[in-house]
Symmetry: C2
Subunit: 196 residues, 2 copies
DNA sequence: AAGACTAGAATGAACATTCGTTCTAGTCAA
DNA sequence: TTGACTAGAACGAATGTTCATTCTAGTCTT
């Protein structure tokens, strides 16, 4: 029930394909990346690719699901290891910043790809589970009295909007220093904007 | 000098094409939109389209430049009619909210299209003139003592990040009410996050 | 030897772009 | 005023390429 439309057997070959596709998609875009490109970059033949994946879209879908699941479980861990909304939200931002630095392609794929554009019927990124979790952290803060009363989605945007914007700027090459350098500053702003 | 790589003569026919292309690009994406699609939607023939525009990319480029110029002059007007950083930033957000409601396609094109993906050599949206202007509003506020001292780009992200996120949510169909309904709330958060 | 996997050539559809032609409106000559 | 001439605007069928996908012939693995 929790699961995915496109379950894919994990083998070294599929990992090769997914890794190559992630890089190509985020560097040149989905439509500028041809199957021959992926064949070259992954050293997996056309036949094998179509043995494992239904079609090109299936590769993107599988990628998307893998990455969403990964973020989802990271956020769940944060919920498990931090008690207050304050700590949870801060940890979430710190995690996103780390991920952006260590695997920019993952973050770029999650945030920038207009999924509806090339994955028909794909719900928008911002309503995927991890982003719902972020919203829930803020709402919990409102219930516990840490966060002032207001429209939940507005509060969530206030808390995470600044950080997400910095991530975008970093990925677009506007920011030179690594994101964690800005964590304290942006977090102070974020929390001040909603704290009671 | 201020101008554009792809100057296009403005005629009824080109307006037709640009209008149709804007809608199609933002609804289905650049790569899912074929020239025949644009021909049908604009009632302008293939030959004429290629008479006015170098190629499909030229249409997108022309669209982008038109929209950027339009936002740029709106922001300049805000700078001319509002004195304080507080008023300018608030007016900027109000303007973006209005534009999103009245012409979602314009906003969608400006914010979401991964321009580098289909317009090679296109600098990222977030370093286009209007976004620089937004940053300058915040910096001016720091100089006038309205905004607390901090890294300029972080301050700008804090002020505008929440609003931009709401715009994204609205365009992705997550928000039901029109954006101006949220203006007061998000602005309070935004300003509180950086005010001295 | 059977099944899973790999390979890469072959296929056919879709598409951006070109090109030769037609149309339109303006200008000029008589 | 009429008719000839011109320039550029508009047209859309034809072209050639690209690319996702399929197919056939193998090669491992157990």
């Amino acid at each position: 029930m929790a699961t995915t439309t496109a379950e894919i057997k994990r083998t070294p070959a599929t990992e090769q394909v997914l890794g190559a596709a992630l890089n190509l998609f985020t560097e040149q875009g989905f439509f500028n990346t041809s199957i021959p490109d992926i064949v070259k970059a992954s050293s997996v033949s056309t036949g094998s690719i179509y043995h494992y994946f239904r079609d090109k879209e299936g590769i993107a879908r599988s990628l998307y699901e893998t990455l969403v699941e990964r973020m989802e479980s990271s956020f769940s861990e944060i919920e498990a290891t931090h008690a207050t909304a304050h700590d949870r939200c801060r940890a979430a931002i710190a995690l996103l910043f780390e991920l952006t630095e260590q695997e920019p392609a993952v973050m770029r794929f999650m945030l920038f790809s207009r999924h509806k554009e090339f994955i028909p019927d794909q719900k928008p990124v911002c309503s995927s589970r991890p982003f719902v979790q972020m919203r829930e952290m803020v709402v919990a803060g409102m219930e516990s009295g840490e966060v002032r009363e207001m429209t939940p989605i507005v509060a969530a945007s206030a808390v995470f909007g600044g950080a997400l914007r910095l991530i975008q700027l970093r990925l677009d090459g506007i920011l030179d220093a690594p994101l964690p350098d800005y964590l304290d500053e942006i977090w102070q702003c974020a929390w001040r904007s909603v704290a009671v």
